[in-house]
Every structure is written in C-alpha cells, then in structure tokens.
C-alpha cells in the first residue's frame, strides 16, 4: 500500500509540474463554459443537464490524452525498467496510476463547480441533482481512465496510445446512436446499454441507479484487468 501511495504521489507530481494538467484544466473549463452557456440559452431552463452530458463526450476524447503517457512514456524513457526491477507489485503500480489520474479528474470537475454556483446565484438549482450528476461524471472518469491505462500499455508511443484509447472508447458512445438504427429489439437494447450516455442519464435526473453503478464498476475493473494482463504478457516478448 505504501508503494501504491508513492506511485500515486509521483504521478500526481508529474501531472502538476508539467504544463499538462493546466492545459487540460483550461480546455476542460472552456468546454464546460461553452456547454453551460449553450445549455441555458437553448433550453431556457436553469439546469446543468446539457453541460454535463456534453462534458461526458468531451472526456471520451480528453482522458486518453491524459493517461496516454503512463506506460508508453515509462517504457520510452527507461523508467519502466526501474518499476519492474524495484519491489513494486503490479497492482500497486496500476492502483497508483489510476488513482492519480482520477484525482486530476476530480480537480477538473471541481473547476466546473463554478457553473452550479452561477446557477445558485440567479436561481435555485436542485442540489441533489447536481450532486448525483457529478457522481456520475466521476464514475465515468474512473472508467475512462481505466481504459486509457489499458491503451497506454499497448504502445510505446504516447500519441499512438492516446489514439488507441479514443478508438477503444468510441464504440461506447456510438452504440447509443447505433441502437436507433437496428431493427431487432434485443440488439437495440444491447446497444443502448453499451452506451455510456445511457448509463449516465439516470444520474443527471438525480437517480443513483444500481445497474449503472454496476456498469461503471465492471467497465473500470475489466480494463484494469486487461491492463494487468497486457503488462504481464509484454514482459514475455
């Protein structure tokens, strides 16, 4: 656990001493502001629904870029050799990296709290809905970070790893649209459930849905497991 904590602190430090975290914060807040404005002017209601839904899609493209360096860069710079020859269990490495990226996501999300604050100034937003919405986004971040780690373990080239990450995540977005194009009911329902937008939707209504919680947990653990397998198997090549 101490080792995972050390990895966690190191990853977080690297995020914040490099310009990366600040660039992300800037881009993310800009997008959030844009969606907030559009949401309010287009629907005329004082809610965060539009902003939060669109931020989910933005995260799909942004988070793989945030996590792409984890394994790819370590392998390229040779620090991977330190990780694999120091007494660092693989689970500690994964946990440390995953948690550090999630904390960065928390910082990004915390930045957008500005918008509910603006709403509160002019109106009376439903704080329960705001809370569950943010919970949904955080779960989404955990899931996407996990997939991002997996893509990073696949390539030595950070940029390639980032692109692979986006490609892995895209089907979970497109599935929602695809569900409206298929005839068979069972296929439509499968596609609908695959889409992360379907899963995050109850949270934006103030509902904590157990099915959705299970979906995010499964997604996160499945990709952490794949990362673990991928790192292990690459050692043998």
């Amino acid at each position: 656990m101490q080792v995972a904590w050390a990895i966690f602190k190191k990853e977080l430090r690297i995020y914040f001493v490099s310009p990366l975290a600040y660039v992300f914060l800037g881009v993310f807040l800009f997008l959030a502001g844009l969606f907030f404005y559009l949401g309010i002017t287009m629907t005329g209601e004082a809610s965060l629904r539009v902003m939060l839904g669109n931020l989910g899609v933005s995260l799909l493209f942004l988070l793989p870029l945030l996590t792409m360096r984890h394994f790819a860069e370590e392998r390229r710079s040779g620090t991977y050799e330190l990780m694999m020859t120091a007494p660092v269990p693989l689970w500690a490495l994964l946990l440390g990296k995953w948690a550090a990226s999630l904390v960065l996501c928390l910082v990004l999300l915390a930045g957008t709290l500005l918008f509910p604050a603006i709403l509160a100034y002019y109106g009376d937003p439903d704080w329960g809905i705001v809370a569950t919405s943010y919970l949904g986004l955080l779960l989404l971040c955990g899931a996407f970070v996990s997939a991002g780690l997996f893509s990073s373990s696949l390539s030595d080239e950070p940029v390639a790893a980032g692109l692979i990450g986006v490609i892995i995540l895209l089907p979970f977005w497109i599935a929602g649209t695809a569900s409206e194009l298929v005839e068979a009911d069972w296929l439509r329902s499968t596609f609908r459930h695959l889409s992360f937008l379907t899963q995050i939707e109850p949270f934006t209504r103030g509902v904590i849905d157990t099915g959705a919680l299970a979906w995010f947990a499964l997604f996160t653990f499945a990709f952490l497991f794949l990362t673990w397998r991928s790192v292990e198997s690459r050692r043998w090549r």
């Binding site: 190191k10 430090r13 040779g78 050799e81």
Partner: protein
Amino acid sequence: MISAQQLTKRFGTLTAVDRVSFEVERGEILGFIGPNGAGKTTTMRMLTGFIPATEGTAIVAGHDVFEAPMAVRRSVGYLPETPPLYRELTIGDYLRFVAEIRGIDARDRTRRIGQVMEQVGLSGWEKRILGSLSKGYRQRVGLAQAIIHDPPVLILDEPTSGLDPAQVAGMRDFVRRLAEDRTVILSTHILPEVELICGRAVLIAQGRVLADDTIDGLRRHAGGGIRYRIELKGGDPSAIPARVGALAEVEQVTPLEPDQGFAVLDVRAPADPRTAVARLATEQGWTIRAMERHVPSLEEAFLAIIGAER
C-alpha cells in the same frame, strides 16, 4: 552470491543469449565484456528479473530470479543502460520516490538520500530538474538510485558510458569502494576499465561465453602471455636465434624480419630471460639494441579470443 545456469533468451528466432553460465562470489567485481550486441544487457536484465529467461535459471543473493522475483528485486541495485529518470522531477523528489518504493523507513529517508547524494557527488543539487542534467550527472543520479537501499548485489550496465575521463576515474574509485562489502557485476566495452576495477571478467560475444577468467588468465588465454622482443648483432646473424634458444631460461624463439643487420627475436619464456640473454651477448661480444618486455593488453586478448571464434 550470483549464479547463472544455462541462461538462454530467444527473441523469436534470434538467440540473444545462448546458455550463459557463470558464478560471482561475495565481494567480487565481475566485468562483463564483449562487443556491442553481444548479449550483455539482455543477460543483466534476466538477472534483475526485468525480462524472463527462455531457458535456464539464475540465483541472486540466495533467491531464484523466477521463483522469488520480489526477494531478488529487494536485494539488487540496478543501473540500466539508460538511467531510469523522470525528466519532470527534481533530483530530491526522484530519490525520495525511489526510497519510498524501495521501502526505506520514513524516518531514515532524508538521512539516506543525503548520504547517497554526497557519495555520488550531488550534494546541494536536490532542486535540479532531472531533464536539465548533463549525461554525467544523470549517470550519477542513476547510481544514487541503485545504491539507495544499500543492496548486497549491484548490477551496473555500462556505468561509465558518456562520462568524461575525470568522471570515469571518479566512477571507478567509487565502484571499487562500493565493492568492499558488496557483489558487483558491471558491463562495459572499455577494456582498460575492466583491467583497473575487476578481478575477473566474463567475455561474451554473440550471446555465448567465450572466456571466464581472471584478468591475467584472460591474457594467457589469448595465447600470447608475456613476450620479449630482443634485438642482437654480431658474428653470424643466422646463428643467433639458435644460440638464444639454447638458453635454459628460454622456451621458444621466433626469428622476425632482421633490421639493419640486427637479428630480431620474439622470445617466449616462463620467467624473465633478459639477464641470461645479456650474459650470453657479453660472452659472445654481441651488441644489444633492445630487450623489451611486452605484456599483452586485455584488448589484444579480447581481439584474439573473438578472432579465434570467427
């Protein structure tokens, strides 16, 4: 302390390391020499557990590399070919991180970091960013990282590559001091280094061990041993080789091309034969122009052994 048995590593159809076996005793400094691409790095990576061997076993500090990898990782300090540094971090933050993952007690960390920084000559450099360091300083941080947990076994992959001559000398002294209570394997292709630091060397080329001996032994192995070049003139030049060869101290005489009337001899002898030759020359009234003792360098031994393989 270290024992490699029939270590083999194949990458697809390429055999990078082919049944390599050797032993290293406690307190010994073993030089790992060989041309680039010989399999030195791959062998070291197998010893540290970074990559698994295709076949064979290795015991490091009493633990099997494949069965108890974590125990091996704890007892080994490893400096890879490229120092494993996070460019974004400062020296201090980096060493603190390594101390943490190496499980050094929180109360001892600061003291230990100060100690190793002083040992490698980095005192006062805590705040420097790793990405801004020159090659020599990066190498020092790499070494500090390898010794921070005071490991009984040190594996150093080309510790002097990219250093200037003064730094090389410093590194040499440092490794020698480290080895007083440790076992060290270091790889290099700079042979004078091995001659100065190591008691013993394993010569490896194309993945195979060609020689495993003390430095003197390697020289002998090369077939040369110590030779003497003797140049004499007087009387019948063609009779000189036979007269010298008849001396009890001399093992073998090979006449070389005569030079300006001097007979030039390549003499092999178990002990220095020069006083005997001088006595003979005085008796015969010969002129002595040269009597040189030639100790083959490890370089020559190295080339001779590799040449014989090809």
